[in-house]
């Protein structure tokens, strides 16, 4: 009876795949409420890290478009007079790689410090101003961090300059904050992916349990493990694909929800910033990822539970 040609076998294999896929789909759709719950759970679990990732992308896009990412503070030598300092400021402003300069005299700096720091009493007790003259220099053009650092080197070499400090700390802080967030998103994403696998594994386990007698009968009449496995793998695939689709929907919906206030906020800052979404490819990737997770979860459940079911 098992004398069938290779071609027939291939056709039958394809046919059984088609049959299993359709049958599993019908079974999933037969219980719309519980299937939708599974889809939603998977969708939420996938949407959380995806949404955070999209948010981070937007933030990094925003920080990349920031004008003049750096500012160089030049603290002048003690004993340099107002006159000389202003002259130096003019010289610097004339440089092609400098966009803007601002001179803060020692007196201005002291005033500012007095009002801002709350050390007014302490400062009043000093008999002379401890602060140096300051020139703030903004590098020209789309100065990268490297260019700004090079400019700082050059400015440091001026004899009148005591110290040149590149104010990039906030940028570095932002960058390390972004890096930290990215890692957090990865960690949360990893955990949720494991969660999705477990949810799918459990759903498939229940499906296997409810069809135990059928599995026994199929094994009794000579169904191979692959034959028994196939419909359950498809069930997992459908749950995963549906979950990925829901996740894409959820992310798109939350972005749509945020779009209006974000562009209003951007307008207030006179920025052209627009929220970037997942895009079609991102959505497709999410659905594919869901499908792969579905297959993997089903495989986990099937390889654990189908072996246990043997004809008695």
């Amino acid at each position: 009876m098992s004398r069938t040609g290779l071609r027939d076998r291939y056709n039958a294999w394809v046919q059984h795949h088609r049959l299993s896929a359709a049958d599993s789909m019908l079974r999933v759709l037969d219980n719309p409420v519980s299937s939708a719950m599974t889809w939603l759970v998977i969708g939420i679990a996938l949407a959380l890290p995806t949404g955070l990732d999209v948010a981070l992308d937007n933030v990094s896009q925003l920080s990349a478009s920031w004008d003049s990412p750096a500012q160089i503070s030049l603290f002048l030598q003690d004993g340099i007079g107002d006159e000389r300092a202003r002259q130096l400021e003019q010289e610097l402003a004339a440089r092609p790689d400098v966009a803007q300069t601002r001179f803060v005299s020692r007196q201005e700096a002291l005033e500012e410090f007095r009002t801002l720091s709350g050390f007014a009493d302490v400062l009043a007790s000093l008999d002379q101003n401890p602060l140096p003259h300051l020139i703030l220099v903004s590098p020209a053009g789309s100065s990268s961090q490297g260019a700004a650092a090079a400019l700082r080197q050059e400015l440091q070499a001026y004899p009148d300059v005591a110290q040149a400090v590149l104010d990039m700390e906030w940028l570095q802080r932002l960058n390390s904050l972004m890096e930290l967030s990215r890692r957090l998103v990865l960690a949360v994403g990893g955990l949720l992916v494991v969660g999705v696998l477990l949810i799918l594994g459990n759903t498939i386990r229940l499906a296997i349990e409810s069809r135990r007698e059928e599995i026994v009968i199929i094994k009794l009449v000579g169904g191979s493990d692959a034959f028994v496995r196939r419909p359950f793998l498809y069930t997992g695939l459908w749950y995963g694909v549906g979950g990925g689709f829901f996740a894409a929907l959820l992310v798109a919906a939350s972005l749509w929800f945020l779009r209006q206030p974000v562009s209003e906020l951007a307008l207030l800052y006179q920025s052209e910033f627009r929220l970037r979404g997942l895009g079609i490819m991102g959505g497709l990737n999410l659905i594919i990822l869901g499908g792969l997770l579905g297959l993997a979860g089903a495989w986990l459940a099937v390889s654990r539970h189908l072996v246990e079911i043997q004809p008695r």
């Binding site: 009876m1 098992s2 027939d8 056709n11 009968i217 009794l220 009449v221 043997q310 008695r312």
Partner: protein, 221 residues
């Protein structure tokens, strides 16, 4: 065809299901296996389809020692054997047609061939007009005949039946036995476990009798 060579089966809890059973069954035979429940009838059948392995001794079919068939070879082995169960074991959520078609789908037949063979098998057991029915709507005797159609649809060389008439009245039982005889006449080796002595002694076939796992009668034709 089927040979048992000093086969013993001892379960983990120490119960001996079969003790030193040796018997040969020819390919053209219809053989009844009888004995009280627990005498080892079912164990004998289960060994042929590799649901059970002997503790000692050897079972072979067509000269092939079944011990050489590993777990991955079991499905292929079972496709060459038709089995009828006492409780039918039908898929209750599938039609009669789908139930009978199952072995052919598993074996990978083209759907036209499946249709042809399923109808031939249903015709043989007299249920051609019920192919769209669900098993629950059938009587016990009809369900058993669906089970028989499923067992023979793949044209196996061996047909096993475990108490196939267990829940049926005498008239239906005789009908079912007649079906088995017909399959035997076209060259199928048939083994039927049954304790219905009144019925099987009328049928003039070899009867193998087991008592507490030992073969007490019927080892020779």
């Amino acid at each position: 065809m089927i040979s048992f060579d000093r086969v013993s089966k001892r379960y983990a809890e120490g119960h001996d299901a079969l003790r030193e059973v040796s018997v040969n069954i020819g390919s053209d035979e219809l053989v009844f296996i009888t004995g009280h429940s627990g005498a080892g009838k079912t164990t004998l059948l289960r060994m042929i389809m590799l649901m059970e392995r002997p503790s000692r001794g050897q079972v072979s079919i067509d000269g092939q020692n079944l011990a050489t068939i590993g777990p991955r070879g079991i499905p292929r082995h079972r496709r060459n054997i038709g089995v009828v169960f006492q409780n039918h074991r039908l898929l209750m959520d599938r039609t009669v047609y789908d139930n009978v078609a199952l072995p052919l789908i598993i074996a990978g037949y083209d759907h036209r061939e499946v249709g042809r063979r399923v109808r031939a098998a249903l015709d043989k057991v007299g249920l051609l007009n019920r192919e769209r029915a669900m098993p629950v709507t059938l009587s016990g005797g009809e369900q058993q005949r669906v089970g028989i159609a499923r067992a023979v649809v793949g044209k196996p060389k061996i047909l096993l039946a475990d108490e196939p008439t267990g829940n049926l009245d005498p008239a239906l039982s005789a009908e079912i036995m007649q079906l088995f005889e017909e399959f035997n006449q076209v060259g199928v080796t048939v083994l039927i476990a049954s304790h219905d002595l009144a019925l099987i002694s009328r049928l003039h076939h070899r009867i193998i009798t087991l008592r507490e796992g030992r073969l007490v009668a019927g080892s020779k034709t």
